[in-house]
């Protein structure tokens, strides 16, 4: 009797283990297609880029000598790299801050129960649907010194034509303005979702306690939106640090090198000079910088997050 019971339990255990194993196998089976693509097209490319950065690698040249860390040493002494890095940081800071503020303001505005709420949401989201080419060309004309509608408008209040894209002090803010207009739609949607997740009772309780709209925003909305703000700023930094299309289309990096961005410079190295090895070194450094920036953001903004 006991023997038969033990055998039954053993079978049950085997069945249980087998089921668990099958679940694990099923999970890996579902993950396999993505992992295959990820390994082939991302991991392999990253590994290859790192390897390439140690070679004098020219795309069509058969000889690709190993040069150790020479590409990285050249990068440290490359003045254009440092100019591009500085421009990119300024652009990213301006754009991420601007986009976050505008997106949050727009989200708050279109979350209120107003007539035509859906229409306003669509209207504000529309620029995000445009390609960078269309956005760049539209804003080149809007900001044009001679024929631009913005300068035309400013002339009515006595302001002389402003050289938005030609003044080295204004070119990065102008590119940033363009990008904010283009890109605030998606973070606005994220903020709308975040706002809708805040329990209405909190606002009601605060109002009963005499809280003003400003108090409600500062002490309820903002603290509870911290995870959303973290997401928006982290994805914003990752996205805007890789800015390329706007300077390429609107300024070609000028005046001088005032609007060179890191990716713009990377493209020049890789696809104008065809120096893939040096380009790979630049790409690796950009990736490291972005990883550091993202980590710092997580450290700073993830404190006191209330999930």
């Amino acid at each position: 009797m006991n023997h038969s019971k033990n055998a039954k339990n053993a079978r049950a255990r085997r069945f249980s283990l087998s089921l668990k194993s099958r679940e694990i196998l099923a999970a890996y089976a579902f993950l396999a297609p993505f992992m295959a693509f990820f390994l082939i097209f991302v991991v392999r490319a990253v590994v290859e880029a790192v390897r390439m950065s140690f070679y004098d690698w020219h795309i069509l040249r058969p000889m690709r000598p190993y040069i150790g860390i020479d590409n990285y040493l050249e990068l440290v002494n490359d003045s254009v790299w440092w100019i591009s890095l500085q421009n990119t940081i300024v652009f990213t800071v301006l754009t991420v801050i601007g986009t976050t503020i505008v997106a949050l303001a727009a989200a708050v505005a279109v979350t209120r129960p107003i007539r035509g709420q859906g229409f306003f949401r669509v209207l504000l989201y529309m620029p995000s649907l445009l390609s960078v080419g269309a956005v760049g060309l539209i804003w080149v004309w809007l900001l044009n010194t001679q024929f631009g509608i913005i300068n035309y408008g400013l002339s009515f209040i006595g302001i002389r034509p402003v050289n938005w894209l030609g003044d080295p002090n204004l070119v990065i803010p102008s590119l940033s303005l363009t990008t904010i207009w283009w890109g605030f739609g998606f973070p606005m949607l994220i903020f709308i979702a975040g706002l809708q997740g805040i329990p209405e009772q909190l606002y009601e309780a605060a109002r009963i306690d005499g809280g003003s709209d400003r108090d409600l925003f500062l002490y309820i909305t903002l603290p509870l939106l911290r995870p959303t703000i973290l997401f928006v700023t982290v994805t914003g930094v990752i996205s805007h640090f890789q800015v390329y299309g706007q300077p390429f289309i609107m300024t070609t990096g000028g005046p001088g090198r005032s609007s060179y961005s890191l990716i713009f410079y990377l493209y020049q190295i890789a696809w104008t000079a065809f120096r893939m090895g040096y380009g790979a070194a630049v790409a690796v450094c950009i990736a490291v910088i972005m990883a550091v920036l993202t980590s710092v953001q997580f450290l700073v903004l993830s404190r006191r997050i209330e999930y």
Binding site: I59, F119, Q146, G166, P168, Y260
Partner: protein, 446 residues
């Protein structure tokens, strides 16, 4: 009230945006004939894929020629892709790596050394008369023939000479009492400054030589230094007896000749007030809108000036600021991948024979045919700019420096010229910085 106002404002903004996007940007865009980016001509069995960077009105002319070729040769189908030059060169490299290049590509002669050094171009020497073929090397200028070669091997068939010259607004010249005859063109910097000052007007109608001239309120510019500054600089450098690279392999853009050439251009902006700074000023639109009297441009400007503006204009030779005349020019040239099959090469050869025999038609694009016989066949009534500028290329034209790394050197030079012309750097600093980076590039390439 507030809601209604914001709704109205939003609607107004939306309508304004839609109008802005849909309206033509200027009279120029209104009349512009779109160039087909990808065009298929004919429907025959023999297929030729052809890439070029003719994004301007010259692309329209090329497509018309391909259509005519396909009509006359129904056994062919030519697929033409028009790609901006910089993108074309990048795409071409990737295509060679993937073993999928086009059957035929139109490039600049300055690209011959780079692509030839990779071993990806076909030796076209046998297509020349000297090699037993059909293309007569004696029917092109010696400088054009040299541009087709790299280390003694001929890799290309030239289509045209396209290069630098001026386009002038004749109405503005006449209003200023200046003769528009190209024979009267000034031959030194001082006379040019005088001419350009007379053509530069402020809102009160004073010209730039007038003591009461308001430099902050200019409505008509005599000149524009921002129109492709590199080739202006290379021309001026040669006019002062300089060169980009010395015979010893040293970058010499920062020589005395280089400093003088760039300083003269900078002075046109900040000393003589006859040109706006380059940044933020659209030179072509400036000419088209009647706010620029003299634009340093090229043969490719003809159809734009004639068909897409209302300006009465004519071509003039390149400005001469130094003691001797010189003007930059380039060559569009056909090249084939080294991996072409004999059948494909034969098909492409048929197409190139046809195009070469019809180079006079190509002059309709504004460019100067490469064949001297085609140049001689141009009539002065229909092709005045081709004839005038083509003669200057023959007489004193200069080509790009022949190097496998010339584009990388230009990538180092261009931002420095831009910085100097926009007063962000002194001429000396800009050219010294450019020379340092260009020397690194050249040393690496050697």
């Amino acid at each position: 009230m507030f809601k209604r106002l914001s709704l109205l404002l939003s609607l107004a903004l939306l309508v304004a945006m839609l109008l802005l996007i849909s309206m033509p940007m200027s009279s120029v865009a209104q009349d512009a004939e779109p160039t087909a980016i990808v065009g298929a001509f004919g429907g025959g069995e023999t297929k030729i894929s052809y890439w070029n960077g003719l994004t301007g009105s010259d692309g329209v002319t090329m497509n018309e020629m391909l259509a005519q070729f396909a009509d006359e040769n129904p056994e062919f189908e030519v697929t033409s892709e028009i790609i901006p030059w910089n993108t074309l060169y990048a795409k071409l490299q990737a295509a060679f790596v993937a073993n999928q290049p086009p059957d035929l590509v139109l490039m600049h002669a300055s690209e011959v050394p780079q692509f030839a050094s990779f071993g990806v171009l076909m030796d076209l020497g046998p297509w020349y008369v000297g090699g037993g073929g059909w293309f007569d090397e004696n029917d092109i200028s010696s400088i054009t023939y040299e541009g087709m070669q790299y280390q003694g091997v001929t890799y290309a068939i030239p289509l045209d000479n396209h290069g630098r010259g001026l386009w002038i607004n004749t109405d503005m010249f006449e209003a200023a009492g200046i003769d528009t005859d190209p024979a009267t063109v000034p031959t030194n910097y001082e006379d040019w400054v005088t001419l350009l000052q007379a053509l530069t007007l402020d809102a009160n109608g004073n010209n730039a030589a007038d003591s009461s001239f308001d430099a902050e309120n200019v409505v008509q510019w005599g000149y524009v230094v921002g129109e492709w500054p590199r080739v202006n600089f290379l021309s001026a450098l040669a006019q002062h007896g300089g060169e980009m690279v010395s015979a010893e392999g040293q970058i010499t853009v920062n020589s005395d000749a280089g400093m003088a050439a760039l300083q003269q251009a900078v002075d046109l902006v900040y000393e003589y007030n006859v040109s706006p700074p380059p940044a933020g000023f659209d030179t072509w639109q400036g000419f088209a809108s009647g706010s620029v009297a003299v634009i340093p441009t090229g043969t490719w400007f003809r159809n734009f000036a004639v068909d897409q503006t209302d300006i009465n204009g004519t071509a003039w030779p390149q400005v001469q600021f130094g003691p001797q005349p010189a003007t930059w020019f380039g060559i569009h040239a056909f090249m084939l991948p080294a991996m072409s099959t004999p059948e494909k090469a034969a098909a492409v050869q048929t197409l190139l024979q046809w195009i070469s025999a019809n180079q006079v038609t190509w002059a309709g694009s504004g460019q100067v045919p490469a064949l001297l016989s085609a140049q001689a066949a141009l009539d002065a009534e229909n092709y005045p700019s081709n004839i005038l500028l083509g003669q200057t290329f023959t007489d004193y034209g200069i080509l790009d420096y022949q190097s496998t790394a010339v584009q990388e050197m230009y990538a180092a030079l261009d931002p420095e010229l831009d910085a100097a012309l926009n007063n962000l750097k002194s001429v000396e600093d800009a050219l010294n910085d450019a020379a340092e980076r260009m020397q690194q590039v050249l040393d690496r390439a050697m």
